[in-house]
């Protein structure tokens, strides 16, 4: 179900922890599996649990807890908008509403062209620049509807080095 490289990487993570602490390697193992597969289908979560000899439900608990794991296919760009206190007070609701209207899809959904997914996540720890969202491995801060429109235009144009 996973490539040799991924399996080797998971084995390396597993070896970092004592034999009776397989659960500690779960976060890393799920991340590696998702990196290869794009998302974590239920069969893959169970497979990863099996690799670490853990009950499937234990891996499922972790995979559903963290918004960084995707249990369904997501778009090329996943807008993870923070909805916690600081961002909420600075209008994250409006940002999410604008995104949904502009992209024509709801929370947790992906545009038909497979480019964008919208998600609401818990605090990203960047309150001073609220409202904030995570896009891939970087943060986009002080969001406004206008800045989002510019960003979406740039991403549609194939630029993914936007700031």
């Amino acid at each position: 179900m996973l490539s040799e490289a991924s399996l080797a990487e998971i084995a390396r993570e597993r070896a970092k922890y004592p034999p009776e602490r397989a659960r500690s390697a779960l976060l890393a193992a799920l991340r590696i599996a998702q990196a290869e597969h794009g998302y974590l289908p239920e069969t893959l979560v169970e497979y990863v649990a099996g690799l670490l000899e853990l009950p499937a439900i234990q891996a499922f608990e972790v995979a559903t807890f963290y918004s960084m794991y995707d249990l369904r296919p997501v778009g090329k760009y996943k807008f993870c908008v923070c909805g916690s206190v600081s961002c909420f007070l600075n209008g994250s609701d409006g940002i999410l509403a604008h995104l949904q209207e502009r992209l024509g899809v709801g929370l947790g959904e992906t545009t038909p062209d497979g480019l964008f997914t919208i998600a609401e996540v818990e605090c990203l720890g960047a309150c001073k620049d609220a409202p904030v969202m995570q896009l891939g491995d970087r943060y986009v801060e002080t969001l406004t509807p206008e800045s989002l429109d510019v960003l979406i235009g740039q991403l549609r144009g194939g630029r993914d080095d936007v700031r």
Binding site: P55, I57, Q58, F60, E61, F65
Partner: protein, 788 residues
Amino acid sequence: MPRIEIDGQELEVSAGTTIMEAATQLGIYIPFFCYHPKLSVAANCRMCLVDVEKQAKPLPACATPASDGMKISTSSRRARMAQQGVLEFLLINHPLDCPICDQGGECPLQDVTMGYANPHSLYTEEKRVVEDKDIGPLIATEMTRCIQCTRCVRFGQEIGGIMELGATGRGEKMAIGTYVGRAVRSELSGNMIDLCPVGALTSKPFRYRARSWELKHTPSLCPHCSTGCSTDVQSLGREVLRVTPRINEAVNEEWICDRGRFAYAGLGASDRITRPLLRVNGRLQEVSWAEALDAAAAGLEQVLAENGPDSVSGVISPQSTNEELFLFQGLLRGLGVQAIEHRLRQTDFRADAAMPLYPALNMSLEHLEGESLVFLCHAYPREQQPLTNHRLRKSVLAGGQVWAVDSVRREFNYPVHGLVAEAGQDAALYRTLARCVQGLAEEDGAGLPAEVLEAACALRDAADPLLLVGSGVLQHPGAAGLMAAIAELAEAAGARVGWLAEAANSAGAWLLGCVPGRLPGGVPAGTDSRPPAGGAWDARFRAWILMGVEPGLDAMAAVQARQSLADARFVLTISAFLGEAEAYADVVLPMAVWAESAGSYFNNEGRLQSFRAAVKASGEARPAWKILRVLADHLQVADLAFDDLDSVRSAWETRLGDFPLDVPAFGGFPEGLALMEGAGSPGEGCRILGDWSIYQGDPLVRRSVPLQQPAGCRLHPETAARQGLRDGDMVELQGPGGQGTQLPLALDAGVAPGAIWLSLGHPGTQALGGVGATVVLARAGVSAGAQA
């Protein structure tokens, strides 16, 4: 030793005691939901917040160790505000559907809300709704009611031993569920219903049947295995509606297994007999008790007169009470009948002389927890004695080791070292182990598998190992040889030996003389009273008295039993259910089942426990002891004219006298005992292995619809491949007598190559000849999976 003060009362506690435990010692109640003394501390419901002097915030009593000088208040203004605040939060998303909730009336959330909540809520927004899950036929879910205390999750991990429920999602999306809609399979799952402090997990068979305050509670005993758990039978009118555990730390702590909890659903089976039946012109007809008793006495007297007492065989269920067992053997022996049997699953009786006074655990259940090395000899307590198994599980969690020697690799809910005999080589495996332990194996056993040597080393190095002999030994076609080999191993290893008694009152059946050759108290019955070769179903018998048994499903030699009963001159069945008796019984006397009658059992430890009737017997059914007593009257058997159950009890107590709880596990074996192993290969076919599954083992539990699981067979992948069979195929099996049946196949590398594992106790599997017989396999059809 910290000294603390709770609500003005001073107390000295041992280090590490939590505030909750200290308060319990003082009899001060602190409200809680997630805390449970048998589970790990989660401290996630926050209901037990208390006010501790000099602490900035209220602290959870369940997770805070008492420290010296602590002054704690459970009812100060700050504590009360914390309690009210927590309840207000818990109730934000809890539906106020108590009027339609089964938990209503026995709900901690309801009670604590009544006692501690602020009657006004500030919350006016929408409540969350959680999707219900179907987690099987036993537990109903209403997950919107869940307060995420995670008791069920912790139970699965810490007590059940298989984690099936988990908390998925985060924050307000957190919900309890199984892995993507899977069913819960643990044999202890019903305890989660008791643990759930709200109505999220309730009993499915009990759903909407009654309100908890309408139920009558009768303290009772579980009649399904030799652990002898204490139960509470809850009834409404004539109907048993629910069975829950009673706390008994020495036996079942506060758990029972699903068999004990849900078997009551079989009480109302459609073939329940409520009037006596008599065969007239080949068909059973309802008659009066007087007619039926006359016919029963006349039928027996005729056979006794014409064929003699040696032509009568009496078979009684090992689930019967001591009073029933004592009267049964008294009645039969009064008639001169020697063939009295309760061991339906055994076929090899050559070592009867070596059997102990009774199958005794030879220790207390509680002490099992402290064992450091236990060898299970053909025993599967997880299904046969689930709460005894729980003690073994605790021993493993405490650092002990359990080895399971068996003819198949079983699935335990704790780490077990498995040792599987090759098909038909069970006794040889014990012999090999014994030789290895003695150190004789170097020259003749160089090629032994590593795990055999490892097991032998574990036994040799252990200070005080324990062998537990399971029902698989007695069910083996060469039981006598197997027992002798186990005795050899025990001798070589210097191990203590205990028996895991098969049925609820196997101990009572042995002690009270329901075996051929032994009178009550284990007194030898005389010279030649050994069972004949065919056991209770031998061809020399012409009449049978059956009590509480269904030989076609309960007997290992089911094929022979059915044949003998069909050919019999006279069969008297005393039973609660008609079942197969319709085919052969001449007279059927309806007896009250457990829950409808009273009596006593000896459990595996030799602990005498009694129970009383919870409900009235159905229709004209009568308690079995009364039936036996009236029959004795009709047949003019003296000394059994007891007027009440207490006098029966004092009669058997007098006959039995004092007996030791710990008894030698084996007596002397006969000289030159052949092992009777499966010599040679079974040719084209496969050798049958199998066992009665947890929900198939007795007439009551196999009638409990919510517990039923279909029959199946399991093969080693190699065996299957050789026969051209795949996982999920329907397999056509042909027994030695040509009987055939079709079963779904599952592949299982834990079954020895050349053997087939069957779930026994089903009509199809019982027709194939029992453990040790050979079946021929063929593919019956293509499964849905293979077509797709």
